[in-house]
């Protein structure tokens, strides 16, 4: 288990001016804490296959701690696949195989010794289609904590309230926590899913096109939420919507046909892209 995250971070094209984040939320690796640039996730030379079809080619990037990283690109370019590699959701797909390293706090998550459920607890996920369970609002949020052993009613109540507040949903649902989650509107459902992910107290939150099924107002709310979330969490978001990427993200990666074409500060990518293909995509010449 070698830790090379700092070297990786130094090699990455962007330089963070952020001060190191509060160490309380970080994993107890002393070398990461010493480092001026907090690399939360490092992807190194990752190839990914669905059966015989290769979906990712030599992808390498670093996700900074307490930032929002966006993956953009046309449909089928592999951005969702990469996202799902970060918490090994692709394990559920039969015949899927990853070659390369994905490090979370310097530890390769594809190692045999890794407990996948623990990994997914640390790296939460919000899906494209809101998928609240057909249970009450309360039970939806309490689902994760209950699985991970929180039994006490008081602390569960607190956790549910805290998570719902964190997702900006508390004021809308506090009087009907025992109602079915299915009765919420689309935007509320998506925020409930975010609250559900927050309730297990993750370090990283992955969002797979969280706003693609929502109207502009609901989208706006979620974007605000993402902006707030990065104070506490590291957020990685996949989006079709380039304005959204420009609005919410600090770093941005552009994917094309399974390749990471360009990765860097969002401002740089949107103003002075280095690659011609990125420029074409961003200016709307294709995609």
């Amino acid at each position: 288990m070698e830790v090379r995250s700092d070297r990786m971070a130094a090699m990455s094209p962007m330089v963070s001016l952020r001060p190191p984040v509060s160490p309380s939320r970080l994993v107890p690796s002393p070398r990461t804490i010493e480092s001026p640039v907090q690399a939360k996730i490092s992807v190194r030379d990752l190839d990914f296959f669905y059966g015989h079809r290769q979906a990712l080619f030599h992808v390498g990037l670093t996700v900074r701690s307490h930032s929002v990283t966006a993956f953009i690109g046309p449909s089928g370019c592999g951005k969702s696949t990469l996202l799902r590699c970060l918490n090994r959701m692709n394990d559920l797909v039969e015949g899927a195989r990853a070659v390369g390293r994905v490090e979370l706090d310097g530890v390769d998550i594809y190692e045999a010794a890794i407990d996948v459920t623990d990994l997914r607890k640390r790296v939460g996920m919000v899906f494209q289609k809101s998928n609240p369970f057909p249970k009450s609002i309360y039970d939806n949020v309490a689902y994760g904590p209950r699985l991970h052993g929180t039994k006490d009613k008081r602390s569960l109540d607190e956790l549910v309230q805290h998570s719902l507040q964190g997702a900006g949903l508390w004021d809308e649902v506090k009087d009907r926590l025992q109602h079915s989650a299915v009765g919420l509107s689309g935007g509320q459902q998506q925020r409930l899913c975010i609250a559900r992910a927050l309730a297990v107290q993750p370090e990283v939150i992955l969002m797979d096109e969280p706003c693609s099924a929502l109207d502009p107002i609901a989208t706006g709310k979620i974007e605000e939420l993402i902006y707030r979330l990065k104070e506490t969490y590291t957020v990685v978001i996949v989006t079709h919507n380039m304005q959204q990427a420009a609005r919410v993200s600090d770093q941005c990666g552009f994917f094309l046909m399974g390749e990471l074409v360009e990765f860097g500060d969002t401002k740089t990518i949107f103003t002075t892209p280095r690659d011609k293909r990125t420029e074409d995509y961003i200016t709307g010449r294709f995609g």
Partner: protein, 549 residues
């Protein structure tokens, strides 16, 4: 030339015809089901209505008393030229002990007159079925020259008293003497077990002696009870009716043989309605008499329902677990496909084959071994090594397990992938995901399987005949003796009852309404069981509705 054909084409293309065709498909199915139900109901429910008694005088001055049950034009093969086109009537004349036959055809031409006298009486007997005639004398030594209204009052009172006496006799036989017999049998088996334990251990000899004393005491008890029983029997049989049947002959009817007397011609319709409801209640709540052709069908209803419940308890866990493995855990490939095909085909195996398997495996192999190990003292009498409600239920569970597996698999595969990912994404293991998210969402599908399984099991007869159904069970599988539920007992079943009464009874014609009625009850039982499951499913559906947006 072109115009009509285009119009025809447009009619065809518009789908109007197709709508009619599909609708008529539904209509025909509904008509067939409704027609069957109406037929069963008319034939079954009609029998409890008190029918009028006719007194028919023939040209030969012969008198016939009976209920008109049918009429037809005399078939050609049976007529001489002069009779052609004439009708004949079918009468139920009862008095099987006197006439030998229950029914009689009478040609219309032979009839001189028909009347409905009020004093014609119908007597329902414990043996030999119905008797029709007039009461001429009632009670012990009651010297009434003519039957009048006061005689009828006496008769009604006497019959009531006889019925009360019979209830006491039954109580004595069944409860008190039954429990003594039960305890004697227990003590006998305990002694037998001591013998099997063997040895000359003084403790064992001591225990044996105590058991012998117990048995002696119980037998003394039994003797005193049976004396009391004898007394009651005597009391019950001392009263009698003198009954004149249509031939003018007098018959002595002992009162302990009489179940009920009635004079249907003297009843108004309200009394008839009361009698109807009483008869119906009697039918569903009492035990059969006369080789099942009379009395009620309560043990059969009870046996059917209990068997379906036991089957459900057995089939649900296995079916659901098998389906969860096939759908969630097994690697989908040719082997799983093969298993699935095999399971589906299992549903098509003739049920009698399951019966034979149940007999060989459950009854002989499993039951036989249980007897060897747990009940050696009762051998050579089998305890579990013979057909019983447990083995019948397990055999039916085997028969219905494919239905449950298929329905559960469908339910599982209908759970959206999003739920699985959502749960797994929160750090749930596969097991937790299945337990907390997938199974609850699949519950409606699982219950659909349950409904299909219950409907199939309740109507199945063939395998039961080999694994535990009898035409007359001495006791219900549920009673007040420990352990209350006697899974080894044989039981009665509505489906088998239909077969037995309809085709195996000595008096098939008289039993026909019973067959229809039993069929109706069986359908009702199945419908009620299904309705309960459907209501449960709908409640769950509402609770686990997957989308309201």
């Amino acid at each position: 030339m072109g115009k009509p054909s285009t119009r025809m084409r447009n009619v065809w293309r518009g789908g109007e015809l197709f709508v009619w065709m599909t609708a008529s498909g539904v209509a025909i199915s509904l008509l067939m089901v409704a027609g069957m139900l109406v037929l069963i109901m008319i034939n079954g429910l009609g029998q409890f209505w008190p029918r009028a008694l006719q007194q028919v005088t023939l040209n030969t001055q012969e008198t016939v008393i009976g209920q008109l049950v049918g009429e037809e034009t005399i078939p050609h093969s049976m007529t001489t030229g002069a009779q052609s086109g004439q009708r004949r009537f079918r009468y139920r004349v009862g008095n099987r002990d006197q006439f030998g036959a229950e029914y009689r055809w009478i040609n219309e031409a032979e009839i001189a007159s028909m009347t409905f006298p009020d004093d014609l009486t119908l007597v329902e007997r414990r043996e030999w079925g119905l008797a029709f005639g007039r009461i001429s004398l009632a009670g012990e030594g009651v010297a009434a020259a003519h039957a009048d209204e006061s005689t009828w009052q006496t008769v009604v009172k006497l019959v009531d008293r006889a019925n009360q006496l019979r209830q006491r006799i039954e109580h004595l036989e069944r409860e008190e003497i039954g429990s003594i017999n039960y305890r004697i049998e227990k003590a006998r088996l305990a002694r037998q077990a001591l013998v099997l334990k063997g040895g000359l251990d003084p403790a064992i000899a001591d225990a044996d002696r105590r058991l012998v004393d117990d048995i002696a005491a119980l037998e003394r008890d039994y003797l005193s009870k049976s004396e009391a029983l004898e007394q009651l029997h005597k009391e019950a049989s001392q009263d009698a009716l003198l009954f004149t049947i249509s031939t003018g002959r007098s018959v002595r009817l002992s009162l302990d043989q009489i179940v009920a007397v009635s004079r249907p011609n003297a009843m108004n319709w309200l009394e008839k309605l009361g009698a109807y409801v009483r008869n119906l209640w009697f039918f569903v709540s009492s035990e059969p008499r006369e080789a099942n052709t009379e009395g009620g069908i309560f043990p059969a209803i009870f046996g059917t329902v209990l068997m379906v419940f036991l089957m459900t308890l057995a089939v649900m866990p296995f079916g659901v677990m098998a389906a969860v493995y096939l759908r969630e855990y097994a690697k989908q490939g040719p082997l799983v496909r093969l298993v699935r095909i095999a399971v589906n085909n299992l549903a098509g195996v003739p049920s009698i084959v399951f019966g034979v398997f149940g007999l060989a495996f459950f009854v002989y192999a499993l039951g036989g071994s249980i007897d060897q190990i747990l009940f050696p003292e009762a051998l050579p009498n089998p305890t579990f090594g013979t057909g019983g409600i447990l083995w019948a239920s397990l055999t039916l569970a085997l028969l219905t397990v494919p239905v449950v597996i298929v329905a559960t698999e469908e339910g599982l595969s209908a759970v959206p992938r999003d739920f699985r990912e959502g749960s797994v994404g929160l750090g749930a293991t596969k097991f937790e995901t299945i337990r907390h998210v997938i199974l609850p969402c699949a519950l409606p599908g699982i219950l659909t399987g349950l409904i299909l399984a219950m409907a199939r099991a309740a109507g199945e007869v063939a395998p039961l005949m080999l694994t535990g159904v009898v035409k007359l069970a001495p006791a219900l599988p549920l009673d007040e003796y420990l352990p209350f539920l006697h899974l080894e007992r044989k039981f009665m079943h509505l489906g088998f009852h239909i077969y037995d009464v309809g085709f195996q009874s000595p008096n098939v014609e008289a039993a026909k309404p019973m067959v229809y009625m039993t069929t109706l009850i069986l359908i009702l039982v199945v419908v009620l069981l299904n309705l309960a499951a459907v209501m449960l499913r709908n409640r769950l559906r509402k609770r686990f509705a997957t989308s309201a947006v």
